[in-house]
């Protein structure tokens, strides 16, 4: 049985979320626009040969990371997936450092040690993913375990895809979090394909049902509705920090581009892509904001200017010094734990 695709709310007609001020709704839009614009710019740089290796993006999935990360407090900790650039932007990573990261520059978040979205800014409370998905589910579970042991009101969040539900670490993390009732939020980004493998070859039951099997709450959300994603994450966070245990949020969305830049997606029916294009998360938030009187064109212009400036800065940054390639394998000083990130939601601004 394939998972059900959540019905989108009628564009522009959804009642505004009571927990979101207009400025929050604009920020959500801004994060999605920045993500899409940066990834489009990075793709151009890739085609120009300025981004080594391969290139992965989250086109069409911007709402999943933007909405979920927006509900996270500074003291919360995040393990972010490669199609979730908006989460990094919300936490406070600058666009110039992100483009520097893609291009392998010394100014990138990992200083050229790592490529594409394999990064996490330690000082902003984020741990970069590894390619073995979903390893970070266990890392997030361990963070939550420490929070619970120390009696702290904070939580951990991690993202992973539909393919990840087939691997052992998904089940080990879900079970562990359920047994210990940990403050962790699992965001399952169901984008219909793991590379070329469709979800009906990936699982026999809707993966959100695993939550009940492991003893906690699971919820399917329209992953192309940024405000719905925020609300699901906000509710899950409340549950987490008040001792209610983990939450699995299945964000139903669609990977609108290939697995990576080389992938022409010939295995995806064109009608499926066209169907999902009508649910574009940015278009939907734009309709809402226009209805609320927001000058979206001005916002778009602002974001474009920010990306232009970031690209200029990133392109001017040097490549890393090859003599440093052997440095940093081991920590030679004190182990510094993760720092706090930035929180944009007005609910944290009091």
């Amino acid at each position: 049985m394939a998972t059900n695709i959540a019905e989108p709310a009628a564009d522009g007609a959804a009642a505004p979320n009571a927990h979101l001020l207009l400025e929050d709704r604009v920020w959500l839009m801004r994060a999605m626009l920045l993500m899409r614009g940066l990834e489009e710019r990075a793709m151009t740089l890739y085609r120009q040969g300025k981004v080594p290796g391969s290139f992965y993006d989250g086109y069409g999935q911007e709402a999943v990371s933007a909405g979920a990360a927006f509900a996270m407090a500074p003291q919360d900790r995040l393990c972010i997936l490669h199609r979730d650039l908006a989460a990094h932007l919300i936490r406070g990573v600058s666009p110039a450092r992100i483009l520097g990261q893609y291009m392998g520059r010394a100014s990138g978040v990992t200083k050229g040690r790592e490529g594409n979205v394999h990064f996490g800014d330690r000082e902003l409370g984020c741990v970069g993913m590894v390619s073995m998905l979903p390893d970070m589910m266990l890392v997030a579970t361990g963070m939550a375990m420490a929070f619970k042991l120390r009696g702290e009101r904070r939580c951990a969040m991690t993202w992973f895809g539909d393919g990840s539900t087939s691997r052992g670490d998904f089940h080990e993390a879900m079970n562990w979090a359920g047994v210990q009732k940990l403050p962790v939020i699992f965001v399952l980004e169901n984008n219909q394909y793991a590379y070329s493998t469709p979800i009906d070859k990936q699982f026999a039951v809707d993966p959100v049902e695993h939550a009940a099997a492991y003893g906690f709450v699971g919820e399917t959300v329209d992953g192309n509705d940024v405000e719905a994603m925020f609300e699901a994450a906000r509710t899950a966070r409340e549950r987490a920090i008040t001792g209610g245990g983990p939450t699995l949020i299945e964000a139903v969305t669609m990977r609108m581009h290939g697995h990576a830049a080389h992938d022409d997606m010939k295995y995806v029916p064109k009608e499926q892509v066209e169907e999902w294009r009508k649910r574009d998360p940015i278009d939907r938030q734009e309709a809402r904001l226009r209805e609320a009187g927001v000058d979206v064109d001005a916002l778009r212009a602002e974001v474009k200017a920010e990306i232009d400036a970031a690209a200029e800065e990133a392109l001017a940054a040097p490549m890393p010094n090859p003599e440093t390639a052997g440095e940093g394998v081991f920590c030679e000083g004190e182990a510094e734990p993760l720092g706090d990130g930035v929180a944009r939601w007005s609910g944290f601004q009091s």
Binding site: R77, V109, T110, R113, E114, H118, F119, G120, R122, V127, G128, V130, S131, M132, D135, M136, M137, L138, V139, A140, T141, G142, M143, A144, M145, A146, F147, L149, A156, G168, D169, E172, A173, N175, W176, V179, G328, V329, F330, C331, E332, G333, E334, A335, E336, P337, L338
Partner: protein, 321 residues
């Protein structure tokens, strides 16, 4: 000083760290109420409670992965693999997440993974392995392997206080067989080699359970002066200590209980070939377990594990070279 077994020394180090640093927690299968398969943590749960002496689900990837998560938010987890063999189920988390973290993102992962290892008890293919070389080959992970009670305690303190992932290879065959004077309180043993017995005609380089084998085999070897170098740490490997011994003795036998190919001893042999060649007065001889799974039945197991007699024979041949 107190006389402790190797096992008691490990227990004492864990107890001292739990008392000294509230960030330390130990986690593993059956380590709490039951006190661990080898009773290393017997009674700990009564003193420190079930949160800090955590009985985990039966999930080795889970143990290592959650330890990493706890470590990066300020804890100092010590994981117990019930048998070192089971680390294969946690390999990915250790090698890909923990080992590469600091290089990739400047984020330290201060975890210790205790790996009860080694054969000699009819444990069979899944309770007898010496997997240290798997982790020597993976950048970012330190690997230590004590052979004495004092080093078991001191190296474990150092491992727990190290800001990096450390594999602590504790040999099951030494648990109750090795006893020694151990300084009281917390002391840190450096990740470097130790001359277990000085000598000048030949050096046997070993670590873990092969150190007592080397000492016994060469205690009275036709009057030859045989040095035994206890590596203690495999990553970092104390290259200078190895080269010093080679220079002093000119003849080298390298001993591994692990399967031979690409074992720690192979790395030591490569080091000597590259940097100690001029000091050699004979071929480097390796004694190791052949590349077979560790068999169950005693005569089969004894046939593959390096014995005192095999070491004696190798040394005699080389001395006569």
């Amino acid at each position: 000083m107190t006389t402790l077994t190797y096992l008691q020394a490990i227990s004492a180090a864990l107890r001292d760290e739990l008392r000294d640093d509230e960030r330390v927690l130990i986690m593993g299968e059956d380590i709490g109420v039951f006190g661990g398969a080898f009773k290393v943590t017997d009674g700990f749960i009564d003193e420190f409670g079930p949160d800090r002496v955590m009985d985990t689900p039966l999930a080795e990837s889970g143990i290592v992965g959650t330890a990493i998560g706890a470590a990066v938010v300020g804890m100092r987890p010590v994981c117990e693999m019930q048998f070192s063999d089971f680390i294969s189920c946690g390999f990915d988390q250790l090698v890909n997440v923990a080992g590469k973290m600091h290089y990739r993102q400047g984020l330290a992962v201060p975890i210790t993974v205790r790996l009860p290892s080694g054969g000699g008890f009819s444990g069979g293919p899944f309770h007898s392995q010496n997997p240290e070389a798997w982790f020597m080959h993976a950048p970012g992970i330190k690997v230590v392997a004590p052979s004495t009670a004092e080093d078991a305690k001191g190296l474990l303190h150092s491992a727990i206080r190290d800001p990096n992932p450390v594999c602590f290879m504790e040999h099951k065959h030494l648990y109750r067989r090795v006893k020694g004077e151990v300084p009281d309180g917390i002391f840190e043993t450096p990740f470097s080699a130790r001359v277990a017995r000085p000598g000048s005609d030949l050096v046997v380089i070993a670590y873990g359970a092969m150190v007592p084998v080397a000492l016994e085999a060469t205690e009275d070897l036709d009057g030859a002066s045989v040095e035994v170098l206890d590596l203690r740490s495999l990553v970092p490997l104390d290259e200078e200590a190895v080269l010093d011994s080679v220079e002093r003795c000119s003849k080298v036998v390298i001993l591994d209980e692990a399967n031979s190919t690409c074992a720690a001893g192979a790395q030591v042999a490569a080091l000597i070939a590259e940097r100690g060649f001029e000091s050699l007065d004979g071929p480097v001889i390796r004694v190791a377990t052949p590349d077979v799974p560790i068999p169950f039945s005693p005569p089969l197991e004894q046939a593959v594990l390096p014995s005192v007699d095999r070491v004696k024979e190798a040394c005699r041949e080389l001395l006569a070279y």
